[in-house]
C-alpha cells in the first residue's frame, strides 16, 4: 500500500510539486496500479526466463564514425538561460 509519505517521496524524486488535493487524488490511483501488479504476481513463472527486453534482438551496433553535431546555438536554444555557451541552471546540492 502506498501512503501519503510514499507519494511525497515519489513526487520529490520526479521534482513534481503535489498539492494536498493531488495527493488525495493520486494515492488511490497508484494503489490501484499496484493492485494490478499483484494480479500479475499470481502468474506461474517457475522455470520461466525473465524477459529483460521485449524485442527478440541482440547485438545492434553503430560503427565508430563521427556524424554531425548540432551547432552551439541550436544546442542552447531549448535552455531557459545560458552564459558564455554554457547552460545555466540553479545550483543543486
Amino acid at each position: 500500500m502506498i501512503g501519503k509519505k510514499d507519494l511525497e517521496h515519489i513526487g520529490w524524486l520526479a521534482r513534481i510539486e503535489l498539492s494536498d488535493e493531488d495527493k488525495e487524488k493520486y494515492t488511490p490511483k497508484l494503489n490501484s496500479v499496484l493492485d494490478y501488479f499483484s494480479e500479475l504476481d499470481k502468474a506461474e513463472t517457475e522455470g520461466v526466463e525473465p524477459t529483460y527486453h521485449v524485442l527478440p534482438m541482440s547485438n545492434v551496433f553503430r560503427e565508430d564514425v563521427p556524424t554531425a553535431s548540432l551547432s552551439q546555438e541550436e544546442a542552447l536554444s531549448n535552455a531557459p538561460k545560458n552564459q558564455h555557451g554554457f547552460i545555466k541552471a540553479p545550483r543543486m546540492m
Binding site: 565508430d64 555557451g85 547552460i87
Partner: protein, 471 residues
C-alpha cells in the same frame, strides 16, 4: 606481515574515459571537444531530447572487453544496459545509461606492490556507462549560486572499474591506481593526459564500521590525500565516542579535506530498470579474438625485460611502470648497452625529468644512445653524463656539442696521476689526517684533483690513484 592497525578497508571505483574512440558511446558526436567551446559537440541523443535513439558504438564494446581481459575478468555471456534514475543537471535525460546486474565483465584481479609484498586486488566488475556532462561552479561547490553546464562530455564512453575492498592503506590505493592506469594505457584505448580521462571514487571504512564514499577525486595523489584525511576524520569520530555514518563526501582538492554531501538524495533511490532503447549484447564470443590482439601488459613486459636484457627486477619494474618509458628504454637498448641504458634511464634521466615535471617525450632516444656510447667508451665521466642530460633538458643542443662546449672529454690517466701527486704535495694536512685514520680526508684530496682537472677527471679514477700513491 602488515598489521593494518586501524582496520582500514578501501575499495575504489575508477572511471576510465575511452577518449581514443572517435565518437561517443551511443551517438556519433565527435570526442574531439577538448579545445572547442562548450555545448558544441552535442546532438539529440547526448542531450537526451525526446524521441532520440541511442545505438552503441562497436569499438566501445571491444575496448570494454579489452579492459575486462586485461584485468583477468570473465567476459559475460549476456550483458545489458539499465537506466539509473537521478535528478542532477549533469544528466539532461534524468537518468544515466549504465549497467547493473549484467555487467560486461566481472570477477578479475590485478596485483600491486602491497605494504608487505605482492597484493592481489580483486576486480568486482568492469562495466560500461555514459559520462555525464561537465558542471562548472563559480567559486567552490558549496558556495556557488548557480551551475554552468557543458554537455560536450555527456555520452562519452566510460568504463567503471570496481575493486573489492582489498586495499589497507592510502599508499596501496595509490599503487592500485598507478597500476590500473598503466594497464589501460598499454591497451591504447585512453589518453591519460586529457582532462577528466580518469576519475576516482573511493570507499573507505575503518574498524569494521560504516563506509564513506568519497567523490570528486581527480588525481592519484588526490586519492591518497583524501583517504589519509578520511582515516583521521573517522578515527576522530570514534575517539569522541561517535559512530561513522554511511554517506557520500566530496573531496575539496584545494583544501585537502572531504565535505559531507548530506542531502535527501542520500537515500539512493536510483530505480534501475532495463534500458528499453538498447537491446542486450551477446558478445562473449568476441573475447578469444580480442585476447589474441592484446598487447604485452606491464607485468609480462617486466619479466621479459629482466630475461632479455639482463637488468634488475627493480629497474624492469620502474621502466614498465609507464608505457612511454618502456618504449623509450627499448628503443635506447636496441643501440646501446641494455644494462647501462637501464641504469641511466631509471636512476638518472627519470629523476631529472620528474624534477622538471617533464615526461620522457622531452628527451630524444638518440641522445640517450649517444651518452651511453660516450660512457661505454670511457670518453666522458659519469658526472659529465649527468651534466649533458641536464643541459639537454634545460637548453637543448646535442651531446657532441655540449661535450665540446663544456670540455667534458675525460682527461687522460697520466694527467690525473700528475694532478693526484700535486694534490698530495699541496694538502699535507689532509694527507696526515688520512694516514691518521680519518677516511673523510680523502674526499678533500679527490676534490683537489677534480679542481685541477676542471672536473674532467673521473672521480673514481682519481680516488684510486690517490689511494695508490698514498699506499
Amino acid at each position: 606481515m602488515y598489521e593494518n592497525p586501524d582496520g582500514v578497508m578501501i575499495g575504489l571505483e575508477v572511471h576510465v574515459q575511452l577518449n581514443k574512440l572517435k565518437t561517443k558511446v551511443f551517438c556519433g558526436c565527435s570526442t574531439d571537444y577538448h579545445n572547442d567551446p562548450p555545448n558544441s559537440h552535442v546532438c539529440p541523443v547526448c542531450l537526451g531530447l525526446p524521441g532520440s535513439l541511442p545505438v552503441i558504438n562497436r569499438k566501445a564494446v571491444e575496448a570494454a572487453i579489452k579492459i575486462g581481459l586485461a584485468l583477468n575478468c570473465k567476459v559475460e555471456e549476456h550483458t545489458q544496459f539499465y537506466r539509473k534514475n537521478y535528478y542532477y543537471p549533469d544528466l539532461p535525460k534524468g537518468f544515466q545509461i549504465t549497467q547493473y546486474d549484467f555487467p560486461i565483465s566481472s570477477g578479475g584481479y590485478i596485483t600491486i606492490e602491497g605494504e608487505d609484498g605482492e597484493l592481489k586486488v580483486g576486480i568486482t566488475r568492469a562495466h560500461m556507462e555514459e559520462d555525464p556532462g561537465r558542471l562548472v561552479h563559480e567559486g567552490t561547490i558549496d558556495k556557488s549560486k548557480y551551475t554552468l553546464i557543458d554537455y560536450n562530455r555527456s555520452g562519452m564512453a566510460l568504463i567503471e572499474i570496481v575493486s573489492d575492498p582489498d586495499m589497507r592503506s592510502p599508499k596501496e590505493a595509490r599503487r592500485y591506481l598507478d597500476k590500473l592506469r598503466n594497464i589501460v594505457e598499454y591497451l591504447d584505448i585512453f589518453d591519460g593526459d586529457l582532462e577528466g580521462a580518469l576519475r576516482v571514487d573511493a570507499n573507505i571504512s575503518i574498524m569494521g564500521g560504516q563506509r564513506a564514499e568519497i567523490k570528486n577525486i581527480s588525481s592519484h595523489k588526490g586519492a591518497e590525500r583524501a583517504l589519509l584525511f578520511e582515516i583521521v576524520r573517522q578515527k576522530n569520530v570514534l575517539r569522541r565516542g561517535g559512530v561513522v555514518v554511511q554517506e557520500t563526501r566530496h573531496f575539496d582538492e584545494a583544501r585537502e579535506i572531504t565535505i559531507s554531501m548530506r542531502s535527501k538524495e542520500e537515500a539512493h533511490d536510483y530505480r534501475y530498470f532495463p534500458e528499453p532503447d538498447l537491446v542486450p549484447l551477446k558478445i562473449s564470443g568476441w573475447a578469444p579474438a580480442i585476447k589474441a590482439t592484446l598487447p604485452e601488459l606491464p607485468d609480462a613486459r617486466r619479466m621479459r625485460f629482466v630475461e632479455q636484457y639482463g637488468i634488475t627486477d627493480d629497474h624492469a619494474k620502474a621502466l614498465t611502470s609507464e608505457l612511454k618509458l618502456a618504449i623509450f628504454y627499448e628503443d635506447v637498448a636496441k643501440k646501446a648497452d641494455p644494462k647501462m641504458a637501464a641504469v641511466w634511464v631509471c636512476d638518472v634521466l627519470k629523476g631529472e625529468l620528474n624534477y622538471r615535471d617533464l615526461t620522457v617525450d622531452a628527451f630524444k632516444k638518440e641522445n640517450m644512445q649517444k651518452i651511453i656510447e660516450l660512457l661505454a667508451s670511457k670518453k666522458i665521466t659519469e658526472d659529465g653524463a649527468v651534466d649533458i642530460i641536464r643541459t639537454l633538458l634545460d637548453k637543448g643542443g646535442s651531446p657532441d656539442e655540449i661535450v665540446k662546449e663544456k670540455g667534458l672529454l675525460k682527461v687522460e690517466g697520466d694527467i690525473v696521476a700528475t694532478a693526484a701527486e700535486e694534490a698530495i704535495k699541496e694538502n699535507q694536512q689532509a694527507v696526515a689526517d688520512f694516514r691518521a685514520g680519518k677516511e673523510k680526508a680523502l674526499n678533500s684530496l679527490v676534490g683537489a684533483v677534480m679542481k685541477k682537472t676542471k672536473g674532467r677527471a673521473d672521480a673514481r679514477t682519481a680516488r684510486e690513484m690517490l689511494l695508490e700513491k698514498l699506499g
